[in-house]
């Protein structure tokens, strides 16, 4: 049979038993054959595209197992304000963005009160000084706070009577919104973003994903701090994008999930908060906030009931857990549900799992729970002098213990949590191989597997993708090097030369 594409002179990592072949043939959207030597020649025809890998690594397309697609897309067209130091600098950035934006409203992201030398969020009247003729909407780092200018106060539907509207001494809104008011305001604004805008924004990030080798993402959409309209959009439109998008609807509404015909739910279904905001539930006090141990968002009874309902309805569940107390709570709920239903095989996941104890890892293995983790966190926050150490003190050496997790036989699928970290799997792979705490490091092969085979397994797609096997989808990457020859500390610099998705060459790096 004549192939559509042949890749020769490669080191084709099948991700099955560490087998490597030198060539690979593709027909339609499937891998036709793999082999060594000159065997590929029988597949060559007049119209066959023959790609010479030049001795470089050829591997399966990456699966990013935790990705906020719509938010990433919308943020890509937003103003990143995380680096500004003062209200004046913020104002000037907004002024400049407005001047360049052709009259569109200005959406700023990544602000926090602490970043400003003034020590607080700007008020709407201050924002007005820099931009008073289009709406300005600033989002805090974790979307817990919104700030509007006066134009936006009159442009958007404002939840004036809700809890969380900050007011000044004259009882007038300052433009800063917290808690319920922020949630309602975000929902009001996000639901007014048209699907056409969503489609364009997502289309715009596709090349970036393909250039980083991502051929499948697990899209964590809807719910807390997001918008259900995002999830609904992905549900209805995922097939129009060139990469595969697997929806995880972040909702606890089991009936709705079933009516939509979905077989899974969750993603950022919060059991606790974040380490950064000291809301991740720990079993000990935060080192930089004595007396604080974070919090569980739901009671054990509520978690138990919800997890049980997922088992009873045969739904795969992905729960957001960061601190050890949250992980414990989730595992207890799973243990209870398994005990009550006896239902296995749903491949339930815990997302993030930054601080599991050894006993919890053992329990996860016993319950067949998958850990969906983000090794890039360690590059951002791990090691001496970084955020984990600030929050946890000496306990920071226990974060993201990949080695122990794998050694206990728990499967890890890797993700970026984009847009919290960059959508660059090789950054995550670098983070797993070069964990700041040596005992937690994993091998290159194990790290690659997190973003390929394991990612496929975690969405019941291991028979379709995640490895280079004849008959599977032709989601294939050609790298700019032989990955095994790259020093460990340079893994993050590895580039993708070619990305093939379902048999189509969708990215080809210009040399």
């Amino acid at each position: 049979m004549i192939a559509d594409i042949v890749i020769k002179n490669g080191k084709c990592m099948t991700m099955v038993d560490k087998t490597i072949h030198t060539w690979l043939a593709v027909k339609g959207d499937r891998i036709l054959a793999l082999g060594d030597g000159q065997g590929y020649e029988t597949y060559l025809g007049d119209k066959t595209i023959c790609l010479d890998a030049e001795g470089h690594t050829v591997m399966p397309g990456f699966i990013d197992s935790h990705f906020h697609v719509v938010q990433t897309a919308l943020n890509a067209i937003s103003l990143d304000l995380s680096a500004v130091k003062s209200h004046e600098e913020l104002g000037e950035r907004i002024r400049k963005a407005h001047a360049e934006s052709n009259g569109a409203f200005v959406r700023g992201i990544g602000v926090s009160a602490e970043q400003f030398e003034e020590g607080c969020f700007p008020t709407r009247t201050l924002l007005d000084k820099y931009c008073d003729n289009v709406p300005v909407w600033l989002n805090s780092l974790e979307y817990q706070v919104s700030v509007l200018n006066t134009y936006a106060m009159l442009y958007f539907k404002i939840p004036f009577t809700a809890d969380g509207v900050e007011v000044d001494e004259k009882q007038m809104p300052t433009g800063v919104f917290y808690r319920n008011a922020n949630a309602i305001l975000r929902a009001n604004i996000l639901k007014n973003i048209s699907n056409q805008d969503r489609r364009e924004a997502i289309s715009n990030i596709m090349e970036r994903l393909l250039s980083n080798g991502i051929t499948t993402v697990n899209a964590m959409e809807g719910g807390y701090m997001y918008s259900d309209k995002d999830a609904d959009f992905i549900y209805e439109n995922k097939s129009v994008f060139p990469i595969d998008i697997e929806l995880f609807y972040q909702s606890m509404d089991i009936k709705m999930i079933q009516e939509m015909g979905l077989t899974r739910l969750g993603g950022s279904l919060y059991i606790d908060g974040t380490m950064g905001s000291r809301t991740a539930a720990l079993s000990f006090e935060y080192a930089d906030a004595p007396g604080k141990m974070g919090r569980l968002f739901l009671s054990q009874q509520e978690i138990n009931e919800f997890v049980l309902a997922c088992y009873q309805n045969n739904l795969q569940l992905a729960l957001y857990t960061i601190g050890d107390r949250a992980i414990q709570s989730a595992l207890e709920a799973h243990e209870n549900a398994l005990y009550q239903t006896g239902i296995k095989g749903l491949r339930h996941r815990l997302e993030h799992v930054e601080l599991p104890t050894e006993a919890q890892i053992e329990k996860a293995k016993e319950l067949n729970i998958i850990f969906s983790m983000q090794p890039t966190y360690e590059l951002y926050w791990g090691g001496p002098g970084k955020m984990y150490e600030s929050r946890l003190g000496d306990y920071y050496v226990n974060t993201n213990p990949f080695r122990a997790i794998l050694d206990h036989g728990v499967l890890i699928c890797g993700g970026s949590d984009c847009d919290i970290t960059e959508p660059r799997p090789f950054l995550g792979i670098h983070g797993a191989v070069n964990h700041p705490v040596e005992k937690h490091r994993v091998s290159l092969y194990e790290a690659l597997k997190m973003f390929t085979y394991n990612g496929a397994y975690a969405i019941f797609k291991e028979d379709e993708k995640g490895s280079l096997v004849a008959g599977k989808l032709a989601d294939i990457l050609i790298l700019d090097c032989d990955i095994h020859a790259v020093p460990k500390n340079e893994i993050e610099q590895v580039k993708i030369m070619t990305t093939i998705k379902s048999g189509e060459v969708l990215f080809n790096r210009q040399v």
């Binding site: 006066t150 809807g222 968002f297």
Partner: protein, 399 residues
Amino acid sequence: MLNIHFFGKSRMYYSDEAACDQLGTKAYALIALLVLNEHRHLSREKIIGYLWPDSNEDAARYNLRYNLWLIKKNIKVDGQGNPFLLVDKETCAINPAYPFRSDILEIINFSPSDEDDIDQLLLLKSLFQGEFLEGCYFNKCDSFNEWIIFERINFEKRKVKILKRLVALYEASGDLDACLDTIQDIMEIEPYDEAMVEKTLDIYAMCGNRTAAITYYNWFSNQLAGSLGVGPSESLKAKYNELRTQVAQRQDSACATTCNGEHCLKCSEHDGIVRKQDKPIVMLMTYCLETIPFYWMASFLESVTQQLDREILQLLEPLEIVALSSIQPQLAYLYESMDERSLSVSVREAGVVSAFIRLVGQMGLKYRIQLTIADEDAMDLHSADIYKYIMTVHADCFI
């Protein structure tokens, strides 16, 4: 008659005639300013300060003159020759003799009272057809933009108040479907208002539809978790658990009495329990005066004396009645049954508070209290503290 609407897109029309919409947003803004300052003459300087603050004096005066002319041209004099506006060299005002209707006036003139009726409130509700001065933002007119925000806040509060009054009337009339629909309208404004969720659960329970109540609770819990990352309050959880227990008790009771203990699918239709919702409802209309200590409590007591017979008050100890009568003299009619010793004691604030709380508790044993508070924001501080307290300890006495 002239009708002017400021909710949604500003517009005006004469009854039975097509809209006469020749006015721009600044003209509507000017009319809104004058309408909401009804009975007052606004100086030209003040109006210019609101609407043309960044223009030079001549330009600003011209703009004001032009807009006044535009309004005069579009709004005809009435049958008696009265113009819509009273304008002189210094000031402008709405002519009180000119007959017109406006959505904002109808809304701000509403104050909850015993005479409210459903049709009247539905009419008011229908006036909220968007935001006040929707789409209006005037660049460099900071004071005017502030004023719009201020008024939008006030109107939002008024809307909630109207809807809550409507809920009370629907409930009292027994139209529980409409009651639920109206609660849904409130929830669209305040989607995490647990008091409304509790009321919804009460109404479902009142209808005997506890399944719907439990489903609704679960939906709301999902919303809270999904949107705010929190669970329901302890109070709401308690309500939910009470409902669940009632279902279980009812099923147990029904099975034991009619099904000889055998499983029966019809058990859920039996109603073998006494519900607190079976108590009669007493509707109390109360008023506030911010500067008078205990005024709201006095108003509450007055309403009690009007709505209920003296039996409920006679459940109190003589000294408690004396204490309460120190803030509500109408209770003095109960003195006839008291001895002189009781009447001669001096009353302290703590005694008033204690007696009031006990009265509410006693009422809760016999009735479900449907409380309406007019102008709640103006509640005096003493009463506000007590109100907060009784809503915590005697929340189940209230609908």
